[in-house]
Symmetry: C2
Amino acid sequence: MSEKGHRKSADGRQKASKKRANTREEQKARTRQKLLGAALSLLETRSFGAISLRELTREAGVAPAAFYRHFDDMEELGLALIEESFEALRGMLKEARTELAGFDQVIRDSVEILIRHIHENRLQFQFIARERYGGVAALRHAIRTEIRLFSSELALDLSRFPVLDKWSSEDLGTYAGLMVTNMVAIVEAVLDLPPGDSRAEAEIKRAAERQLLMLVLGSAGWRSQT
Amino acid sequence: MSEKGHRKSADGRQKASKKRANTREEQKARTRQKLLGAALSLLETRSFGAISLRELTREAGVAPAAFYRHFDDMEELGLALIEESFEALRGMLKEARTELAGFDQVIRDSVEILIRHIHENRLQFQFIARERYGGVAALRHAIRTEIRLFSSELALDLSRFPVLDKWSSEDLGTYAGLMVTNMVAIVEAVLDLPPGDSRAEAEIKRAAERQLLMLVLGSAGWRSQT
DNA sequence: CAAGCGGGTAAACGGTTGTTCACCCAGAGT
DNA sequence: ACTCTGGGTGAACAACCGTTTACCCGCTTG
């Protein structure tokens, strides 16, 4: 309907009924996204290894055979999902990169940002948490290397703080590992909550801040005692 | 085991071919254990939600229908497995309950004991780690409450240490939570290793000791600043 | 404007799944 | 010695699985 073809004059946008912009690759990208989205929403209740291909395509509203136009394999889709999810996570790290304020302010802000991002990307976080030690080996490994990357980025950030800037890089790595471990634990605690319960969430937030503060205070007492 | 009932003459043991002691309930317990064992070994590669009942009975060497003589449901078997696994874990906590030595000695011993127990009960630990945030809700919840229990037991133990004995119980709880979180992280790191790699394991051990030490030093700087 | 390529479909395949059924037979109870 | 009981079996069920096939049709390209 409406215009189409090679126009020359201004514009050219033809936003038909529901699915606009029917160039070939756009259409393909759209159903690919439908598949990934369907996977994410199924992962809310099952783990990845327990999802069947047919169930997935049913949820996505496509024929089972269509799947093979996009992925060879469920595993391949899983890897794509990991990539996509960590993309969102990187956005968070960028925002959290902070100017050097006081310790407790930094902690408060970090926890705030973390929790907000969890809510905005709940399904992705849940997927990663669930598959981190889940049954599909390839996904486990992919996630592990992503987290390692994350951790070393954090170590770099930490090195700009006073006190910490004099630590050995091994100590910094150990410390960053601690922080990440406990951040992950916070994520998991938030995900466990029924999504509406802001009462319990405030409690987790408080506990998280206290825990991170304990960690920071620990750093003050640490003098590289090899 | 061995003797039973009101004996009269010496002995009476008839240990036929492979499966001895054929009282009714012993036999039942034995195949029940076969089912649980089969589940554990399948869980090495899949997550619980991805295991099929038939696959399980095949592994156990029983007919599919036999399953229903023991459990209504796969979920029920999963819960039994959790109970059994945490039983083993409690044994560890008992052993780890320590006399008050120096901090670093306590840490070294604890890590030692933890790692040994992981090796002795690898499958159980793996199962719990995998299902802690896995897809089956009932198992997740059961594991969570067990870990909470574990954590509060630890808090009680901690309260006997100097310095810590003056902390508020909330602070102790927070601290115990930290310890448990990081212990769990250690478990997961060890489980990730290829089982033979003692080189990498020593490294993890070292990192674990350093991390726990950081935590302890943090406690020194903590003065309940509500 | 014709040709054709590619993302989509429905149908069919053999294999596996969970669950039920009638049946068997060794240990328990009298 | 008798029957009863209950853990175990194999066969059968419909439902679902992953994958392949032949086909359709609209965007893309010449």
